[in-house]
Each structure stands twice: as C-alpha cells, then as structure tokens.
C-alpha cells in the first residue's frame, strides 16, 4: 500500500514551484544583489538611472547672468551677493522642463515680494552664537507694516545709502 502520508507535501511543493515560476515573470531581470551586498544592495538596478533622470529645476545664479546682467552685477556688489536669484524668483525650471528659457513662450517667473520673504533673514533673532544675530533686522509691526519691503529697498541693492 503506497504511503499517502506524503501527499500534502507534494501539494505544498507544487505550490512552491508555481510561486518560483511566477517569480520569473514578475521580478525584473536586473533585480539582484549589487555592489553593497545583500543587506544594503538588494535592488532593481535600473532605478539608479530613474533617479538620475529627474528634471533639474534650479539652475543657479550663474545661469541667469547672461540675460539679466545688470541685476546680476548690481546684486553681486551688494550685501545680498550670496542670495540666489531663484530664492526670490523661484526655480527656472519645473518638472516639465526649463520653461523660463527653453520654451518659446518664455514665461516670467513669479517673484515673491511678500514681507514674509524678507523677514526670513531680517526678522531679528537675538541668538548670540548664531550667524542670525549678525543680520540687521526690523520689527515688522512697527517698520512700515502695510507695504512691501521692495517699495523702498531694491533687493538687488537693498542699502538705501547707495551701492557699496
């Protein structure tokens, strides 16, 4: 009499085989152990390229200077020389591409002229060991509370005493 006891085992093995077969179709071919070993390097290789292909948005100040040479020269002589153009003007590119320059429409970038924008640095915080305490600031409730800062202070040469 054949031993029926192993039948469930065969059923289980059958299921395992099915799962392994499904794996061949489901798992991408480049999925495996890569440079950092099994613990840290178990992944789908092509994903690295996927991340490299993400659209770059911020172009940096040097990108702006050829067209906007006057403002560039001005800000570079001012205390705002290290503030990036795109900090206030927003990124030159979006997820769709470098729309500001490459597209035929050359859409304007929206400038953040709010008081909140300037207060990021110019709200005075008396923190002695931090670079923040060295930045001149104003009390926003007392210093011309209803108007934009740029009405009086040109961000590209903010000192009212004139250019340095």
């Amino acid at each position: 009499m054949k031993n029926h006891v192993f039948r469930p085992l065969f059923a289980v093995i059958g299921i395992i085989v099915l799962v392994l077969a499904a794996r061949i179709f489901y798992v991408p071919k480049d999925f495996g152990i890569h440079e950092r070993g099994y613990m840290y390097g178990w992944y789908r290789q092509a994903n690295i390229e996927d991340w490299k292909k993400v659209q770059v948005k911020y172009q940096g100040t040097e990108y702006c200077k050829d067209c906007h040479d006057k403002n560039y020269a001005s800000i570079k002589k001012s205390p705002h020389q290290n503030v990036q153009c795109e900090n206030c003007h927003g990124p030159a590119g979006t997820a769709e591409g470098i729309v500001h320059f490459d597209s035929d429409k050359r859409p304007k970038l929206t400038i953040d002229k709010s008081r909140q924008q300037c207060l990021r640095c110019h709200f005075p915080l008396p923190y002695p060991s931090s670079g923040r305490s060295k930045i001149k600031g104003i009390d926003p409730d007392k210093h011309n509370p209803d108007i934009e800062c740029s009405m009086c202070h040109n961000p590209h040469h903010p000192n009212l005493e004139g250019l340095r």
Partner: protein
C-alpha cells in the same frame, strides 16, 4: 493631509516627518497572528502530549487556527499603501528584514496547519465523497460538493485501520513540528518591534519572547471562549430541535467544566510567564536608566499610565488571574476571565505599537494617537475603528464557513 497626520496630535518638539504611521491595523496584526499561534499550540497540547481532556477543544483549536490564518494577513493588506504589491515580500524577499520572514514563515505554518487538518479529516472526506458518488441524480450543489470532497481527499481513499494509524502518526509529527514554527511565527512578529533600535520603547531582546507568551495566552483564551460559546449554543439548539442533529441527547453536554478548568491552568501558566517578562523589562529599564529613560518614564508612568496599568495589567491581567486562581471555577467566571485576558492582550499590543510612537525621536516632544471612530474616507475607515472591527469579526465569519467542510461537532469520523 499626509498619511498619519489626521490621527496624530503633536506636542512640544517633534520633527516634521514624525507621525503615527503604524496605527490600529498594526496593533491588530500581532493580535491576530498571536491568536493563530496560540490556537495551534493549544491543539498540539492534545496531539503531541496526549492530554486527553483537551481532545474536544483541540479539534476546535485547529480549525479555528486555520480560519485565523486567512485573517492574519488582512490587517497588513489594509495598512499597506500598495496592498497589491504585498506579493513583493515573497517575490524579492529581503531576509535582513523581519517582515520578509512573513512570507516564508506564514506559508510554512499554513502548510503545516492545512496538512494536519487534512490528516485529521481525511476519513470524513472519503466517507463524504463515497456517499456523494453513490447519489444517482446529483443536484448542482451535490456535484460541487462531490468534486470538492473528492479533491480534498487528494486521491487517498484508503481508510483501513493501518491507513488511519498512519494519519495519526502524521498528525503527531506535524503538531510537534508546528509548535516551534508557531513560536517562530509570533516570535518574529515580536522581533519586528524588538529589533528597531531607533525606537527606545521597542528595542529589547525580550520583545520576541513577550510576544510569544502573550500570543499563546490569547490563543488559549480565544479557543476557550469559542468552545464555551459553541458548545452552549449547540446544546441550546438541540433542545429546540432534537431531530436535525446526528448526536443523541446523552452526548450533548454543553461546555464541559473539566475541559475548561484544564485549559485554564495552561492559560494561567503562560499568563504569569508573560507578565513576569514584561515586569522584568520595566524594572530593568528603570534600574539602568539610559538616555531614553526620562522620556519613557513620562510615557509609561504618566501619559499612558491608564492604558498600561489600569487597562492592561489591572483589568487585563490581574483580575483574570484572581478569577482563575480563586477556588471553584465556574464556566461563567471562566468566560469573564477569558474575555478580560483577550482584552489585556489587545491592550498589550496597543501599548507597544501606539506607546512606542507616543514620543518623538527628540525625546522632547509627544504624539497623541486618536483612533478614527467615524470614518469620512477610505483611509479613516481602514485604519480606524471600522477596519479594526472588521478584522476582529472576520475569523468568526470564516470559521462558520470552514466548519461546514471541517465539522467540529461529530466525533465519529475524525480522530
């Protein structure tokens, strides 16, 4: 709102990305897998150690364990942001992660339970298949039943004494192997938490053991309550309509006290073990007082005091211990004790999962979890009270259907 934001209230210094990401479904998951493991261990106490008084409840326990097995992955499915990608855990398992063990351990455990059930019920399937084969004009339902039972026999129609004896030996082997696998099943669930070094409350090597012990407690408790309820219900129904059932009135006794008392002894043993480990962990933490202790002390003894000491230890552990250890145990007292124990085990999972997310990584801020009661979208349902209750009733629903194929009442055709 980002995931977790709607049910998280932050206080004081919490970093921007911290929310209670592991909510009620992650509490339900170890609770359900604990019931699976516990029910199986109870069943094995009969099959392996031959404790005769547990024969009736052992059958219950095994079938219930099988029903619970299908329910255990459900909380995960409801929690995952991509439930259909859940299969990735089996396809590209990263075994350095405790969660990856899920695929293998669960499958192994499921295979063992299913196989053991097969051996237990093979004779019943053969008898049913043969009886249906002889029926001349089968209805649609009968055809389907015939195919089902024939399939379930896996072609092994021999029900001679020798063959059945082989079945019994196989059951014993499987039950024996199954105990360490059941321990592993829930041990790894504890390891999921215990190995997270980033979480000051979770990280302890005791976590897997605490989880296993309280899992066994919950499994035994669930089987006891199910056994009592089903047996009493059966007695009630038979009294109302004697003819429909196969058993005579003499065999119907309702829930038997000696079964309940015996099982309660094991429950108390594992409960004391679980409590001891948890108290050891607490005492140890207080004594060594490492950097995280200031914050954990605030959580355990102040903010979560009610949940931990009143709900879990008080109502969920101490009162049941008094109920079970007092002389003259009655079925009614056992029912109350068992329900409180189940509540206590649930609170333990809650206090670990939610408690571990009650404080910020900064140790200078808190997060409060409020369970979504009234859902207003799919997310607040699946990760709220609605989802938790759905998971909780599922085993009973599944047990009802599974018990139609694997009957737990008639004692004649199974071992």
């Amino acid at each position: 709102m980002v995931h977790g934001e709607i049910w998280t209230i932050k206080e004081l210094f919490v970093t921007p990305n911290e929310y209670i990401y592991w909510s009620v479904q992650i509490v339900m998951y170890p609770f359900m897998t604990g019931l699976v493991a516990g029910a199986f261990v109870l069943s094995s106490l009969y099959h392996v150690f031959g404790i005769k008084e547990l024969k009736d409840i052992a059958r219950f326990a095994l079938v219930f364990s099988f029903a619970l097995l299908f329910v255990a992955p459900m909380p995960i499915m409801l929690h995952l942001q991509f439930p259909f990608r859940g299969i990735n855990v089996m396809m590209t398992s990263h075994f350095t992660s405790a969660i990856a063990a899920f695929g293998i351990v669960f499958f192994t455990y499921g295979a063992i339970v299913a196989s053991e059930l097969w051996f237990l019920y093979r004779k019943h399937f053969v008898v049913k298949a043969n009886a249906l084969r002889d029926v001349q004009d089968k209805t649609m339902l009968q055809w389907m039943e015939y195919l089902m039972y024939t399939g379930l026999t896996l072609g092994a129609f021999d029900i001679s004494e020798e063959s059945l004896h082989r079945d019994e030996k196989a059951i014993k082997v499987l039950a024996g192997i199954g105990i360490p696998v059941a321990c592993f099943l829930h041990g790894y669930a504890g390891f999921i938490f215990g190995s997270v070094k980033a979480n000051a409350l979770w990280m302890t090597p005791l976590m897997p053991v605490i989880f296993i012990m309280s899992a066994i407690v919950s499994g035994i408790a669930l089987c006891m309550i199910t056994y009592i309820v089903v047996m009493e219900y059966r007695k009630f129904m038979i009294k109302r309509a004697r003819k429909r059932w196969e058993v005579s009135l003499e065999e119907v006794k309702g829930a038997e006290l000696h079964v309940v008392t015996m099982t309660a002894k094991y429950l108390v043993f594992f409960l004391i073990f679980a409590i001891s480990l948890e108290l050891l962990d607490l005492i140890f933490r207080g004594y060594t007082a490492v950097k995280s202790w200031d914050m954990l002390r605030t959580i355990i003894y102040e903010r979560d005091f009610y949940d931990i000491f009143i709900m879990q230890y008080g109502i969920g552990n101490l009162i049941p211990l008094i109920l079970f250890l007092s002389p003259g145990l009655t079925i009614r007292r056992a029912v109350l004790g068992v329900l409180l124990v189940l509540f206590g085990v649930f609170m333990m999972r809650w206090n670990v999962v939610i408690g571990g997310q009650a404080f910020s990584l900064t140790f200078a801020g808190f997060m409060h979890y409020h369970l979504p009661i009234i859902p207003h979208d799919w997310e607040t349902f699946k990760e709220g009270l609605g989802g938790a209750l759905t998971i909780f009733i599922m085993p009973f629903v599944l047990f009802y259907f599974i018990a139609k194929v694997f009957p737990v009442f008639s004692t004649k055709e199974s071992h």
